[in-house]
């Protein structure tokens, strides 16, 4: 189907089903129960899952296939966001021009940076991209404030008077009248599920992005990129220059980042400079490696994993803990709460750091490998490498 082989079609369908039913899957606990704290099925977080999924899928096209580790991809995300918000300011709140422009601008920006950075490889390339991104961040935060609104973040003011904004148009980001942050809430028993317009727009674009990424992975172009990774020298000897291919991959992944940035701005029309900071670039690297670099689905899993901990664990506080464990006798409750307190609220970063280490130590192939191991356990097959062929071919390339 769609030019994919059977395995890839299955994978695409699985991802599509997961994305479409996410509002159910992410809200497994009844609204009033104590465990509702762990529900992730509210619009903002669902949007973030798929948007950062797109970001990581794009990053994986560069890193997973060519092995070029960019430490400055957040710059493209940031540029995309600024482009989209400027479209809202100038043209009006319809998200289409914003999203299109964000992809184009990020692509051009990536072409520029990629053209220079790709003259070097390895860690020299990483540092070059890092340097460009940090420069962009520093300028966006201070000197470029007239364009970026600096610390506060770029937003639409009522004095902006967009060109095509009519009185009847919604005064928030919308897709031809379909307001992005409008939701429908479905109530089933003690559960409630929200279906958000913006989320579904992002999810559809994520599926498109995912499909394109599969096609790239399976194309002769993808094969070339893998050749760059496995042995660039040998490739050069056969008379092929690697740079056009890597540059193309760099620009494509920059455009993915721009799309993610544009979507972020479309869901919430504010673009902050810290989106471009090196920590944000580092985050997408972590997402990709954590999920499984070079695999198709891994980056999406990694993105979901990190965003989940950032948004859910940071909101648990001490009194919530006391609420959960109040049934325990005090001598047990207090030490338990004391221990768990390290990992919640402001300690969410500690939880995340610990999990990074555990995943990298025990699952060298990232979360995808964890999934494969569980799959093997269930299917009862003996351990062995032949299983890898049972998965999409890409998964047999471990992270690097």
């Amino acid at each position: 189907m769609l030019g994919l082989d059977k395995k890839d079609t299955t994978l695409l369908i699985v991802v599509a089903v997961l994305a479409l039913f996410a509002p159910f899957l992410l809200n497994p606990f009844p609204t009033e129960s104590a465990l509702a704290q762990f529900n992730a099925g509210y619009p903002d977080l669902m949007q973030r899952f798929v948007i950062f999924g797109i970001f990581a899928i794009g990053f994986n096209i560069l890193f997973g296939l060519t092995g070029y580790l960019s430490f400055g991809h957040a710059a493209f995300l940031g540029v995309g966001s600024y482009a989209a918000v400027w479209m809202f300011k100038l043209l009006g709140y319809n998200v289409v021009p914003g999203i299109i422009l964000s992809v184009i601008v990020a692509g051009v920006f990536a072409l520029l940076i990629g053209f220079i950075s790709l003259r070097r490889s390895g860690i020299y390339f990483s540092i070059l991209t890092l340097a460009f991104a940090q420069m962009s961040f520093a300028m966006a935060y201070s000197v470029l404030t007239p364009i970026t609104n600096g610390e506060t973040g770029l937003q639409v003011y009522s004095s902006d008077n967009p060109l095509f904004q009519t009185a009847t148009d919604p005064n928030v980001p919308h897709l031809f009248g379909l307001v992005m942050r409008e939701s429908y809430t479905m109530k089933v028993g003690a559960w409630s599920f929200s279906f958000n317009n913006g989320y579904y727009l992002c999810a559809i674009l994520m599926l498109v992005a995912f499909y394109i990424s599969i096609r790239i992975f399976r194309s002769p172009f993808g094969l070339m990129l893998r050749a760059v990774k496995s042995n660039q020298q040998r490739m050069n000897y056969t008379g092929l220059s690697a740079r056009p291919y890597t540059l193309a991959a760099f620009v494509i992944s920059g455009m993915y980042a721009g799309l993610a940035g544009g979507l972020l701005a479309s869901m919430d029309p504010l673009a902050g400079a810290e989106r471009m900071q090196w920590t944000a670039s580092g985050e997408v690297v972590l997402m990709t490696i954590l999920g499984g670099a070079g695999t198709l689905i891994g980056p999406v899993l990694g993105a979901g994993f990190i965003k989940y901990f950032e948004n859910i664990f940071s909101k648990i506080n001490e009194s919530t803990l006391h609420g959960w464990f109040s049934w325990l006798p005090d001598p047990i409750e207090d030490p338990l709460v004391w221990l768990l307190e390290h990992f919640i609220g402001g300690g969410w970063a500690l939880t995340l750091g610990t999990l990074f280490m555990l995943v990298v130590i025990f699952l060298p192939g990232g979360l995808v490998e964890g999934g494969q191991r569980i799959g093997r356990l269930i299917s009862g097959k003996s351990r062995g490498t032949e299983d890898e062929t049972g998965k999409p071919a890409a998964t047999s390339h471990p992270a690097e």
Binding site: T31, E32, N39, Y42, P43, D44, L45, R48, A138, Y141, S142, V143, T145, G150, E151, T152, G153, Q155, S158, S159, P170, N171, V172, V179, R181, E182, S183, Y184, T185, M186, K187, V188, G189, A190, S192, S194, D268, L270, G272, E274, R275, E310, N311, S314, K315, N317, S319, G345, G346, W348, A349
Partner: protein, 446 residues
Amino acid sequence: MSKNDVTRRGVLRTGAVAGAGLALPTIFTASSAAAFTNEPTGGTVTLGFNVPQTGPYADEGMDELRAFELAVEHLNNGGGCLDTFSSKALKGNGILGKQVKFVTGDTQTKSDAARASAKSMIEKDGAIMISGGSSSGVAVAVQGLCQEAGIIFMAGLTHSNDTTGKDKKKNGFRHFFNAYMSGAALAPVLQKAYGSDRKAYHLTADYTWGWTQQESIQAATEALGWQTVNNVLTPLAATDFSAYIAPVLNSGADVLILNHYGGNMVNSLTQAVQFGLRDKMANGKQFEVVVPLYSELMAKGAGANIKGVFGSTNWSWTLQDAGTQAFVKAFGAKYGFPPSNAAQTCYAQTLLYADAVERAGSFNPCAVAEALEGFEFDGLGNGPTLYRADDHQCFKDVLVMKGKESPANEYDALEVVEVTPRAQVEYAPDHPMFAGGDLGQCNPGA
């Protein structure tokens, strides 16, 4: 405007009816359900406290959180400033008889993360009001979000003129003072202490707050006859300010003004003292250092270096009025140490919000905003205060502080030099430093 965002679980919960057991999906458009966003319908009402829990301002965030918890305790059970507050609408039985619950989140002192956290409070937890924060960037970003979502934002620590200037919003309210007020309060004290013939050298954090702070203090000191020798912008990420401080030595200036906050302030002040600036004589006068905005928590980090350095704060626990005493006693009894001025503004904001709801008789943000606008009150620790209707800024006395020579304990680093009366820090709503903004229309959400 048809802004019908966010799910309204509270409403739907009650509408879930007995038939829910049949698991018949009932589908609502969110807009048809309630009068305003997150209208509380059960026996409880949820407030959202969004403070930095990670990043450099985490300690300030923790102190804000303590104050919020205390405020919620007092709202539910009475006590604290409820007894000293000039408005007697609050009974200590929650807000409008509903028990107050709260949720917390982490702003990370980043506008993006703060918006994400605030959205999750609104969308997931049904928060009716958001408060907190420790920087102006975050305050402006979250204020904008609350305006769009249709809930009330009670700003925490935010000192930039923009929060109630160019970025003011109908749904947003600020109790904390601002850069203009710092300048207006400090200048006369500086003149008294250092004379009118001074040459000032500014180091300014290179972002919005730094610029407005610098602009305000420069205007205020130049009005007194001071000259401004130079203004050098320093990167926010800088930790070593030696390369900015060394040139001050030979610049001909005799006052160094550090428009820095938090970690920047601690480092630049420490290094200015290391370079011997405070022992130096320039133009025949003793060289002086000024830090326009003080934070008690950060002042601790500068240790002995702040001795004798002037600055300003919104409030201090050493004040002797009844409201301050009531709050400090309650806070001290619960946590064992006195509160910071970030904590006080958050405590006051929570009570002010609750009181406005009581007086309005409704949680509807438009009714609450109306009740807060032009509200005159006293007894929360800052003396008689006005919530001005034109820009939602509180007007009250401003404290000029000085680093204490011999602190009695670690919480006693600063002493009050002068309580600048409210009249002296007031300005017209259309003052050029605050121009360009528009409160807009109140937005109740649904």
